[in-house]
């Protein structure tokens, strides 16, 4: 079908549908002309939700349209992601995915209803929250080196807590275990709150979790942190060494969050959205609020759609062997 025929057909469809079908060039130029729905596959108030709200709040100003956040929970975020994959690819339905929904889910859920690479257009990386190695406050080891020796010596006695299968704390702990070559028992909890409660109460020995949840507990002295799994120390916990400093450079983990659009969204629309993301990440207030959460803002080179595509590819490659071995 030539261009004329296509636009005729779409014009016909537009009349049928009352207002218009969106995939034509002209409409992509005018984008956005109405409200945008941003699906967040986790509960309101969680780390991904908070980051999505901070960034989209600024993006809405740039784009001149309201961005409505819709929290859809269930099955580790895969329910919502599957829904977003099937949404109209006109740029009016987006999703804020993360490490779990767009990488770890591939090996975790054999019957996944979507594929992070094949069903989505990467738009832009938002911010990541570093993973910490945390332990109950009276666990004997004083630093990461002692902790590693302790875990190896007590592999059959020690308990690791996590916030449920497929959660960030679960998959990052599995990565730690595969780096260390150990298989201690993992005790599942329903979410980060109960897992943290058990750690504070000393019912379990250690866990890996996102920095947002742990900073106040560490500062309050109810739990302790051995290391942060990022290349640099985090400003909110300046005394906690990185895994590289502490002698475990192989353990690098960050719960990254990024915006995706359904496959086939026009490149012009993706470019406009990406520009809005980049602009938001350069804004002083946005930066300040993200840093307050302990999150890491990606450098300029990592903010392009192509860079996000590469990240997703690399992350799937990174998690697949780790999590396949567990199942």
């Amino acid at each position: 079908m030539n261009w004329y025929g296509r636009s005729l057909a779409s014009g016909f469809l537009a009349v049928l549908a009352g207002l218009g079908v969106s995939s034509s060039q002209a409409l992509a130029q005018a984008y956005p002309t109405r409200n945008i729905t941003m699906i967040v596959p986790f509960a309101a108030g969680g780390p991904t939700d908070v980051i999505a709200r901070i960034v989209t709040g600024h993006m809405a100003q740039t784009l001149g349209q309201t961005i409505i956040i819709e929290n859809v929970v269930g099955a580790g975020g895969t329910t919502a992601t599957a829904r977003a994959a099937k949404a109209a690819n006109d740029g009016y339905t987006l999703i804020t995915g993360h490490m779990g929904t767009h990488a770890a889910s591939v090996p975790l859920y054999p019957k996944l209803a979507y594929h992070p690479e094949k069903d989505f257009e990467p738009v832009g990386l938002l911010a990541g929250t570093p993973i910490l190695i945390l332990a109950r406050k009276d666990l004997p080891p004083k630093d990461l080196k002692e902790f590693i020796a302790y875990v190896k010596a007590n592999e059959s006695k020690i308990n690791a807590a996590h916030a449920g299968v497929g959660s960030v704390s679960n998959v990052s702990c599995e990565l730690l275990h595969s780096v260390l070559g150990v298989k201690p028992i993992g005790v599942p909890f329903n979410g980060t709150g109960p897992a943290m409660n058990a750690l504070v109460a000393g019912q379990v020995d250690y866990m890996c979790d996102q920095i947002v949840n742990a900073v106040p507990q560490i500062n309050g002295g109810t739990i302790k942190a051995y290391a942060v799994a990022t290349p640099e120390r985090n400003p909110s916990l300046p005394n906690v060494p990185t895994t590289t400093e502490a002698g475990l450079p192989a353990f690098q983990a960050q719960a990254w969050n990024a915006i995706f659009a359904p496959k086939g969204t026009p490149p012009e629309v993706v470019a406009k959205l990406n520009a809005a993301v980049v602009k938001a990440l350069d804004d002083e207030t946005v930066r300040k609020r993200l840093l307050e959460l302990g999150s890491v803002i990606p450098p300029a080179a990592d903010r392009t759609p192509a860079a996000l595509g590469t990240l997703v590819k690399n992350e799937i490659a990174k998690w697949t062997p780790v999590l396949k071995a567990v199942n």
Binding site: A43, A44, G45, G46, D49, V50, R53, I69, N71, V72, V73, G74, A75, G76, T79, A82, L108, Y109, K111, A113, N159, G164, V165, G166, I185, V187, P188, F189, N190, G191, G193, P194, M196, N197, A198, V200, A201, Q203, V204, V212, V215, P216, Q217, N219, G220, G221, T222, R289, E292, L293
Partner: protein, 521 residues
Amino acid sequence: MGDVFSNLGLGFGVVFQFVQWTPAFLGGTSIPIPVNILLCLIGALVGTLVGVLPGIGTIATVAMLLPITFGLPPVGALIMLAGIYYGAQYGGSTTSILVNIPGEAGSVVTALDGFQMAKQGRAGPALAIAAIGSFFAGCVATVLIAVLGAPLTKLALAFGPAEYFSLMVLGLIFAVVLAKGSVLKAIAMIVLGLLLSMVGSDIETGASRMAFNIPELADGLGFATLAMGLFGFAEIIRNLDAGGESDRQLVQNKVSGLMPTAKDLKDSAPAIGRGTVLGSILGILPGGGAVIASFAAYTLEKKISKTPQKFGRGAIQGVAAPESANNAAAQTSFIPLLTLGIPPNAVMALMVGAMTIHGIVPGPQVMQKQPDLVWGMIASMWVGNLMLLIINLPLVGIWVRLLRVPYRLMFPSIVIFCSIGIYSVNNAPTDVIIAGIFGLIGYWLIKHDFEPAPLLLGMVLGPLMEENLRRALLISRGDWSVFVTRPVSAVLMAIAAALLVLTVLPALRKKRDEVFVESEN
């Protein structure tokens, strides 16, 4: 003690804060506005509305309204969200009593006697006593949080998986006690509820269990879906059997006083007191304590009552005790959040989210770092409870008048409200169909004298029980003796065993007499 007063003083100072409002049209004259009081009122009103509408639960509402609070100052935002939370506890009892639809796990037992009272034309006293009991419990719990919040935190930490498992076993025994008919059938219903709660994904392996590849079942059956089906739809279908309408007319003609009599108050006062104590203690336990508060209170009342046969047939204590326990637990469940920064349930997790968005991440130091926030919230609870009492008592008259709407108009309306409510939880049409199926199942169950309440409780407790059992066994490396060697767990198990014996033995002996009593009705 002096600290408590100065802290509460600070709290009330925050609540009664006035903000000068200088609108342009007044030409520079400023009006003082009590912003936090207004936010508390809005929260309480919205909460009541949400509680009254079947299907729309507290979690969904707080999640929905969370974004609205972003524009508010943090203290005001949290006061409003807290208002929604306990407002919904007040409102939730309304549908339980009027139309036998419990909106939340906490009001399942309220429906047992509350709806019977309504059938006997005593909806007014039932609603009023629920509000009064809730208010009393709210006041006591607020003081408790202020005075003993920090030391009580230790209780929350003393409960590990083994203790929770034992608590849940005890909870299931409570569920047997609250059945009024055959004990065997009640146990079967509990087990059926446990079985239904297994649908979904396994906590340890993530394996899909009995979900038949239906995406809506991947996370299990929702409480609201099941409750609307088994109580709401099933009740409607049953009422549509011949004679439903005339039955209803009978009810309407019988409506007696709106307010409880002196005898009602005297009967329910001790029940309110005991319910408050039980609820306050259980509410502190994160992850499931508050769920069993209401029926623990109901069971206690039924066991110590001189006339246990009245329970399930319109005993006012059966409304007063669980409602007080419910509200006390709702209040004290703030303790782990305020002292540890750990959210004990889904609603509290959303409150943490609200704080995080405002740049406050609650932790063990939140009381020292944000005293105005913490004490402002505590003071607002008391103010909110007072407001709710003032809102709810006059509403009783309106609700009771609603019962006079002819049933032929009432039932399609309930169908619509329930359908919208269920749909709105996940925006999933399949959930509405599932509720419809459970409506038919519920109709069949009622026809065969199976009670739906124990089923619902089994459904709520099932996951908590299984998860904690598995956690406890993982931590103990398969050693089952942890349940009796850990002191708290052993005490709970002993109570459960004693209660079971007390329930089953007389039931076996009295079986014949009871059949006789039933047939005389």
